[in-house]
């Protein structure tokens, strides 16, 4: 998967859930690149702003969209990495 494809997937997901991609392009670019890097190196689109333990069961929670993203967006206006923000 390339950056453009992943960006579109992320955009569609955000739209379907009632939030949006961060309007700060620098943040989005960094996160998309990070996810692709993680997919290449670790096999999964882990959130690039979370520690990878190496325990696949535990690390399931950090596959984007991560376990905490909705609560984070609700509480702070953005998910931890900043990819998704509230509208």
């Amino acid at each position: 998967m390339n950056e453009e494809q992943l960006r579109k997937i992320s955009e569609r997901y955000a739209e379907s859930q009632g939030f949006k991609l961060n309007p700060d392009e620098k943040v989005v670019e960094s996160i998309i690149k990070g996810m692709i890097d993680n997919e290449e190196n670790h096999g999964f689109r882990y959130c690039p702003c979370r520690a990878i333990t190496g325990d696949k069961e535990k690390d399931r929670k950090i596959i984007c969209p991560c376990f905490w993203h909705k609560d984070e967006i609700k509480d702070t206006g953005r998910c931890l990495c900043g990819l998704f923000v509230s509208k």
Binding site: K26, V27, S30, I31, K33, G34, D37, N38, H42, Y46, P48, C49, R50, A51, I52, T53, G54, K61, I62, L80, C81, G82
Partner: protein
């Protein structure tokens, strides 16, 4: 001051934190928690969560890039 920064290479807020430390001539040890399993587990144990950046300043933990908290903790 003993300062450790737990970070990941593509985390935008980690970059902001490191830039801030550089601008203020603050020396620190940095730990990539996507490549260094030991550091990852250490950070999770200390903070109870998996997100970065995390900065530890003489045992005091700050999660996220928070300029005001950093200035206070670093006496800037």
């Amino acid at each position: 001051m003993k300062i450790r920064v737990y970070y990941t290479p593509f985390c935008f807020y980690c970059k902001l934190l490191k830039e801030f430390l550089k601008e203020n001539n603050v020396e620190y040890e940095d730990l990539n928690v996507q490549e260094n399993r030991e550091a990852a587990l250490e950070m999770i144990e200390k903070t109870g969560q998996t997100g970065v950046p995390v900065i530890e300043i003489d045992g005091k933990i700050i999660i996220g890039f928070d300029k005001e908290k950093l200035k206070e903790a670093l006496n800037l």
